[in-house]
């Protein structure tokens, strides 16, 4: 491994020169309280410009993203990010706006936000959206704040619990916990779906909402969703839709039609904007009409004289993000929606589902598949057969996939499947690429039978070999010791 940037530093090696100072120099101690002054100069590395450039180029070459290859990370929807979206976001009329410009001078940006909201409403089956939240978990937080404000406004103060299925994304219970709710886990039934009997048992006048992903983290569609919604609504609770898995239904089915009251989308997943190091994300939150007064302010409204920001929303939970949210991301997602159109989004979804089922079918001979039936955009395979027969764990399989040039899938999640390998191929992969991935996983299954040691020690071809995850978690070193 080459040196980190601190170790490359050479005293006096800095590659900049400042012009002579043309104002009087100040003695810091004379102007600033001594307790705020540092005694020594910070240990910033001293390197010339070309050395800094080489450092970052080297790092970039070690990274692995969708533009490098297949990235089947389950529930993360690592689809290709069309480059025309970057063009759209970099149009000078968008890129060079100042967030404090007066409304009259940003009409184009406001119109885009207005139209993006309308598209989100159409896709989600909702009535209004806020585009402020900066990513998915932030959207969850915003959504639950709206639900809390709604119950409080009705003087229904006893609703202190949030129901979350045992297959849920970890952000669901975390969000509920942050807002002071008690988390109650709803069990899955033998089909991997919400157990209606358990849901009924958990439902009470203390429940504020059920948070649900549909399709769920097993890639299975909650086919009893209308009955689930009826149970929660009959008990006075609301339904929150976690949009992480929207790619499994987008353009085909709408959460609003299933009975969901609040939802978030991940523009950086379903709507193809970069994420996973290339972000930032964007997590718009949509609501049904009866909740729209509680949305963060401002919302963009269209009036005769043009578009404006409406702050006059007395029941609003307030701002959840400065300015317009992650505006550039919204521009990219809007470009994606407009490029595909309704039929295009539907086709993308159908291909995502087809790809997932294609992989599931061709891997079932070598790997245990948790629920062997038609899935949506992802499915859960498992290394439990390899663990029992060859002493090879899912972690070993995931590490070995890197030697074959693939990003590993999500592992050990969802928690309800042992040795889980959660695979989401997305629609932008070709059949040839999927076949290469199938061949690699089958080859790894053969290696597990014949030469398990090669898996225990994988990866062999990466710059950094097997990382000691236990030591990294127990004794993390978070700063350069210099």
């Amino acid at each position: 491994m080459s040196k980190v940037i601190f170790a490359r530093s050479v005293a006096g090696g800095g590659g900049f020169s400042l012009p002579p100072c043309d104002v009087a120099e100040i003695e810091p101690a004379a102007e600033i309280n001594r307790e705020f002054l540092r005694a020594e100069a910070p240990l910033l590395p001293e390197l010339s410009e070309v050395e800094v450039v080489r450092h970052y180029v080297e790092l970039s070459q070690r990274a692995y993203g969708v533009d490098n290859g297949f990235y089947p990370l389950g529930s993360c929807t690592m689809k290709y990010n069309p480059k025309i979206n970057e063009w759209a976001a970099r149009l000078p009329g968008f890129a060079f706006l100042h967030p404090y410009q007066v409304e009259e001078s940003v009409q184009g940006a406001l119109e885009l936000l207005y139209r993006a909201e309308k598209l989100c409403c159409e896709i989600g089956g909702m009535d209004r959206f806020t585009l402020q939240p900066a990513a998915g978990a932030h959207g969850e937080l915003t959504g639950l704040m709206i639900i809390k404000a709604y119950h409080r406004h009705r003087q229904d103060l006893a609703r202190s619990k949030i129901l979350v299925p045992d297959s849920a994304h970890g952000t669901n219970p975390a969000t509920a916990h942050v807002l002071g709710f008690e988390v109650v886990e709803v069990k899955s039934n033998e089909e991997g779906l919400v157990d209606l009997q358990d849901l009924k048992a958990c439902m009470s006048s203390e429940v504020a909402a059920l948070m649900l992903t549909n399709p769920n983290t097993l890639g299975l569609f909650e086919k009893e969703i209308e009955e689930i919604a009826a149970v929660v609504h009959a008990g006075g609770g609301l339904l929150y839709y976690d949009g992480a898995n929207l790619n499994g239904i987008v353009g085909v089915a709408r959460p609003g039609d299933m009975g969901f009251d609040v939802l978030h989308f991940n523009l950086h997943k379903t709507f193809a904007t970069p994420h996973g190091g290339g972000g930032p994300g964007s997590g718009p939150v949509g609501v049904k009409e009866f909740l729209s007064d509680f949305l963060p302010r401002p919302l963009v409204e269209k009036k005769e004289e043009g578009y404006c920001l409406d702050y006059d929303r007395p029941l609003s939970i307030g701002k959840v993000r400065s300015f317009y949210g992650n505006f550039g991301v919204i521009v990219k997602a809007y470009a994606y929606m407009m490029a595909l159109g309704g039929p295009g989004l539907r086709e993308a979804c159908e291909l995502a589902v087809l790809n997932a089922n294609y992989l599931r079918h061709h891997l079932q001979e070598d790997y245990h598949i948790a629920f062997k039936r038609l899935c949506k955009h992802e499915f859960v395979a498992s290394g439990q057969k390899q663990l029992a027969e060859n002493g090879v764990s899912t972690l070993d399989i995931a590490k070995r996939l890197m030697d074959y040039g693939f990003h590993p899938p999500t592992v050990y999640f969802p928690l309800i499947v042992k040795e889980a390998l959660m695979i989401e191929p997305v629609e932008t992969e070709s059949r040839e690429r999927l076949d290469e991935f199938i061949a690699a996983l089958r080859e790894i299954a053969r290696e597990a039978r014949e030469n398990p040691d090669i898996l225990h020690q994988a990866p062999h071809s990466t710059v950094i070999k097997r990382v000691d995850e236990v030591r990294a978690a127990r004794q993390p070193i978070l700063r350069w010791p210099g």
Binding site: Y412, F413, I416, K418, E469, V470, A473, R474
Partner: protein
């Protein structure tokens, strides 16, 4: 897999050792094995009130973060402070390394828990299924 005969067990894989009206609580050998290397244990504070079946804490391994449920209701009288710096003690010996001691409000809570034999049956069933 060790399942000492003199302990009570919960279906969510905690064990309970009763001494008078105090309950010593930890997680089972099966649970530590399923979790893998444990890297952090979040415990309640002494004097915290716990509900039977309510959350006691969180245990983090390299694989996952899992809730620990309290098999009995009562007041926390002690926590195992050693786990703050050495969470791996639970992997090394899950029965010697308790997580909390609770003064039970209702010693009858343990009557609804599982015996060692019943717990062993449950683990075998879980191991066979998903």
């Amino acid at each position: 897999m060790k399942i000492p005969a003199d302990l009570y067990y919960s279906p969510s894989h905690e064990w309970v050792r009763v001494e008078g009206d105090q309950a010593w609580i930890g997680i089972s050998d099966y649970a530590q094995h399923e979790l893998g290397d444990i890297v952090f244990v979040e415990m309640p504070e002494p004097d915290d009130e716990l509900e039977a079946g309510g959350q006691l804490g969180v245990i983090e391994s390299v694989k996952a973060a899992s809730t620990i449920y309290s098999p009995v209701g009562g007041t926390v009288v002690a926590i195992n402070e050693e786990l703050e710096d050495a969470p791996q003690l639970i992997n090394e010996d899950p029965y010697a390394n308790y997580i909390v001691v609770v003064a039970m409000n209702n010693p009858g809570d343990v009557d609804s828990l599982l015996s060692a034999a019943a717990y062993e049956e449950l683990c075998q069933k879980e191991q066979g299924g998903e």
